[in-house]
């Protein structure tokens, strides 16, 4: 094997801090190389150095690509050499078609006039290569995140990719979509494409990677062949300590039924004839953590949002009872007042006002509690924000820090603080650990256990089955808008959940 890429002693400093401190990375031609590390370890910075986002000269060290020094001044430079990076946040234009997106900036055209036949023909080729069965003219808007990811890869393939970099490609994907994507990576490898994958999901890393490089605090900790490497080995390198248990210990004794949802039916907000949630009934006991498993698009988020103040859907029918009494959840303020909180799946676009400080975000859903006569009591606000910062161990210089500056895990803690401050009886957590690193996940799990211990009911929606299995007392399985099964912690396993979904 020959070396395709070698990054030698890369040091990148931002005012006051070294983001990368003599990081080295060596990628062999034709391999899949995983880069692991906690959030803030410097993985993304390293990839930005590689792809020219940080131009040559703005960092120290050297990059050897195909055996010669590479001085990329911008992304175009690196793309010309076949280095394509696919970011965590997809860079597709939703209002354009798949074909238009794939050839955006690289149009099949002569004299500025696009050759649509050629464009669509090439698109079809590329789509079949990545295993996506959609028409080239389909709008990106109308396909799911998993398929969009495939479009991104098709786009990369259209540019004669030699080194494909995937930054947390499966973060937003469902288990089976993830698997498809990983298989595609293996297939591309067989075709000679070298890949770098950045991922938190160690199972995936072990599945696809040939070599694993772990980065911690801006330095390379280890580069080892994936063969024979266990997940625990990787985790130990990532966090610098042993993590024997991925999930904190808990011993729960659920009490009486706290919340009961009966015969919940929701129709699609635009397609009037589509029933999104079909007669769903479930309950949560006090001090219990209940999971909702299901594929993406099965209606889990829609179920949660429709219960939370009818934030989704139309013609909603069914009842919600708290402690046996029917409650009014017809809008968000009423749902909050009834004692229900919903921690959104997408914390950046739905959960936080990013440009405002922690204090602002902490009190946002319960401003009445920190004001009298409509006038805010800022000292009280600060006190509350400080209280939750300590209680949830949010790592930040102060509560006056803008939340945009926090890492994913700490942002999630701010969202949790916001909802805890509304003193809910029931918390619905939608993908509470998405995009969060291993150490922070553990902390979020601990918080969830504490809430249950305080007698609150927790509903946990997650795409990561091990997480549901490790945390929940009961798991409901959802498929195509209906709850198709209910398993106790003792009965549940990944296989049983999958079989419930498949056999419906």
């Amino acid at each position: 094997m020959t070396t395709l890429l070698e990054m030698r002693k890369i040091t990148k400093e931002f005012p006051g801090v070294k983001a990368l401190d003599e990081v080295s990375l060596k990628v062999q031609k034709g391999e899949i190389h995983a880069v692991c590390g906690e959030n803030g370890a410097g993985k993304s910075t390293l990839m930005k150095v590689l792809s020219g986002v940080y131009p040559a000269g703005s960092f120290e060290g050297e990059i050897l690509y195909e055996g010669e020094p590479a001085n990329f001044r911008n992304i175009l430079d690196s793309e010309k050499r076949g280095i394509i990076i696919i970011h965590q946040e997809l860079a597709l234009v939703p209002q354009l078609s798949i074909a238009e997106n794939i050839f955006l900036g690289n149009e099949r055209a002569s004299n500025g006039v696009i050759d649509w036949r050629e464009t669509n023909r090439r698109t079809e080729e590329l789509l079949s290569k990545v295993g996506l069965r959609e028409a080239p003219t389909t709008l990106v808007d109308s396909i799911g995140v998993g398929k969009q990811q495939l479009v991104e890869i098709a786009k990369a393939l259209s540019k004669d990719v030699k080194l494909l970099i995937l930054d947390e490609p499966t973060a937003a994907l469902q288990e089976n979509d993830s698997r498809k994507l990983l298989d595609l990576m293996l297939e591309l490898k067989a075709q000679g494409v070298t890949s770098i994958i950045i991922s938190h999901k160690l199972g995936e890393v072990r599945y696809v990677a040939d070599t694993v490089t772990v980065i911690r605090d801006g330095t390379t900790v280890s580069t080892l062949p994936a063969k024979g490497l266990s997940e625990d080995d990787i985790v130990r390198d990532m966090v610098g300590r042993d993590m024997t248990h991925r999930f904190p210990e808990h011993a729960r004794t659920p009490g009486d039924i706290l919340m009961e949802v009966e015969d919940w039916t929701v129709w699609h907000p635009e397609h009037k004839e589509r029933r999104v949630i079909k007669n769903a009934s479930f309950n949560v006991r006090a001090g219990e953590v209940v999971g909702i498993a299901g594929l993406m698009g099965s209606g889990r988020t829609e179920l949660a949002m429709s219960i939370f103040g009818r934030s989704y859907g139309r013609n909603i029918s069914g009842t919600v009872k708290l402690k046996g009494q029917p409650v009014d959840v017809s809008n968000v303020p009423r749902a909050i007042k009834a004692g229900i909180s919903y921690v959104t799946e997408d914390r950046k676009s739905l959960g936080l006002v990013l440009d405002e400080p922690i204090r602002f975000n902490t009190t946002l859903a319960n401003l009445e509690a920190v004001s009298s006569g409509g006038v805010l009591n800022r000292n009280e606000e600060t006190r509350i924000a400080e209280h939750y910062r300590e209680a949830l161990a949010t790592r930040t210089p102060s509560v006056f820090q803008k939340v945009v500056n926090l890492s994913g895990g700490n942002q999630q803690k701010v969202v949790l603080a916001k909802w805890l401050f509304t003193s809910p009886e029931v918390l619905i957590l939608d993908e509470p650990t998405r995009g969060i690193d291993v150490g922070a996940k553990y902390e979020i799990y601990t918080i969830i256990n504490d809430l249950a211990a305080q007698g609150k009911g927790v509903v946990m929606i997650s795409s990561e089955m091990p997480e549901l299995l490790g945390m929940c007392d009961r798991i409901y399985v959802m498929n195509e808008g209906a709850l198709v099964g209910e398993l106790t912690a003792a009965e549940a396993s990944q296989e049983r959940i999958m079989s419930l979904i498949v056999n419906e």
Partner: protein, 415 residues
């Protein structure tokens, strides 16, 4: 994402340790605005050979810009909520026309007219806010339509003619002055010191009192911040800023006192500015407007009635545009079909120069007021210099662009 975290936590770490330089870097915008105003004033003071800051011109400056500032207060709220209102100039003209027709043509009492006009302004704002808030029609479009509609309505109402003059009692809304409450002896005493013809002691007193109150409230806030460990501006900055503000206040009121004293509009303007500064910074509704502009979806899912807030922001804007319309008509002593033409752009420019963000969620009342004064001083100074309207427009345009470029540059440097 990773790099951004590191970058930011670093700037905070240095913020607390390195002090002055770092603080200045992160608050360059606020100081820059104040500094720009001072520099521009100094410049015009020199090139106009002292005309800019003559008592009569200072008074004029306040009167000329009063309606812009009154509308800028409402516009700031609208822009922070993530919207824009292009109709305010037309609404202002329309309400002035309505007042003229009611008072001059129909002899309706002044107080009844003022109340009716403010209500009409509120209704106009509500009508536009309704479509923006509950039908999600972009505010740009709704208020562009409003701009045309109300421009037409003014023309129709005035039948294309100017209507005026107003009775004396109405004129004082804009052109009146607060009478001195202090005994004449004190005024003569100061007149002797200042070598002026006469001195309005109330104006002088108000300036000193305002300076003391601002300093006192600032110190109290500082003490409180310290108790909570909030990163605060270095004391040298605090003192320098307060000395400048206090000196400016006292200087302006001194100038006013040697002319005719405190204009009524200054009181209206000052009170409204304080009220809106308080609402935006210290009340629940103010907080919610920032949340709405910062992230409407998150605000809605936090139980905030975002539609109603948007609706209220426009209603409020309508009322303030009506107030401005009354002041404007009273000042000109006549209502003309062209009144308020293009003024919305001055108002919007003032808010953006004051540091508000087009995408919402960012901006302050004080910034908007200072921005309005900055534009006002530019207008006034250039007019005194005899610069043609052609150059004036170009220079104002470039100042607006420069202010926003400065904002964006600053943000990039930090982010």
């Amino acid at each position: 994402m990773d790099s951004a975290n590191i970058e930011h936590s670093s700037s905070d770490a240095s913020g607390s340790s390195k002090g002055v330089a770092a603080y200045l870097a992160s608050h360059l915008r606020e100081y820059g605005l104040l500094l720009a105003l001072i520099v521009i004033m100094a410049f015009f003071q020199i090139v106009t050979e002292g005309t800019l800051l003559r008592a009569v011109n200072v008074t004029n400056l306040l009167l000329q810009n009063s309606y812009i500032i009154i509308m800028a207060l409402g516009m700031l709220v609208v822009i922070v909520s993530g919207n824009i209102d292009l109709s305010v100039g037309s609404v202002m003209g329309f309400v002035g026309a309505l007042a003229a027709v009611m008072i001059v043509n129909y002899d309706i009492s002044i107080y009844a007219t003022i109340v009716v006009c403010l209500i009409v302004g509120g209704l106009v704002g509500a009508a536009q806010g309704y479509w923006v808030a509950y039908w999600k029609i972009p505010s740009f479009i709704v208020t562009l339509a409003g701009m045309l509609v109300f421009r037409g309505l003014s023309l129709w109402l005035l039948e294309g003619q100017s209507v005026g003059p107003f009775p004396r009692e109405f004129q004082i809304v804009a052109n009146g002055f607060v009478p001195d409450i202090f005994p004449a002896g004190i005024g003569e005493f100061f007149a002797g010191i200042f070598d002026a013809r006469k001195v309005n002691v109330l104006a002088l007193f108000a300036g000193v009192a305002a300076a003391i109150i601002i300093f006192w409230m600032g110190s109290r806030q500082r003490a409180r911040n310290k108790a909570y460990g909030i990163e605060d501006e270095p004391s040298s900055f605090f003192i320098a800023r307060n000395v400048i503000v206090a000196a400016a206040l006292i200087f302006i009121t001194y100038k006013l006192s040697t002319f005719r004293g405190l204009p009524n509009v200054l009181i209206t303007m000052g009170v409204l500015t304080i009220i809106y500064a308080f609402i935006t910074s210290s009340t629940v509704i103010g907080r919610r407007i920032y949340a709405l502009g910062g992230n409407a979806k998150a605000a809605k899912l936090s139980g905030i009635k975002t539609e109603r807030l948007t609706f209220l922001a426009f209603t409020n804007m309508g009322i303030l545009a009506a107030a401005a319309g009354l002041v404007f008509a009273a000042r000109l002593n006549t209502a003309t079909p062209k009144a308020g033409f293009g003024l919305e752009l001055d108002v919007i420019a003032a808010v953006f120069i004051g540091g508000a963000s087009m995408s919402g969620g960012v901006g302050t009342i004080i910034g908007a007021v200072v921005g309005a004064f900055l534009m006002g001083v530019l207008n006034n100074g250039m007019s005194i210099m005899g610069i043609g309207i052609d150059y004036q427009q170009m220079i104002k345009g470039l100042v607006l662009l420069a202010a926003v470029i400065f904002d964006v540059y600053n943000k990039q440097k930090q982010g």
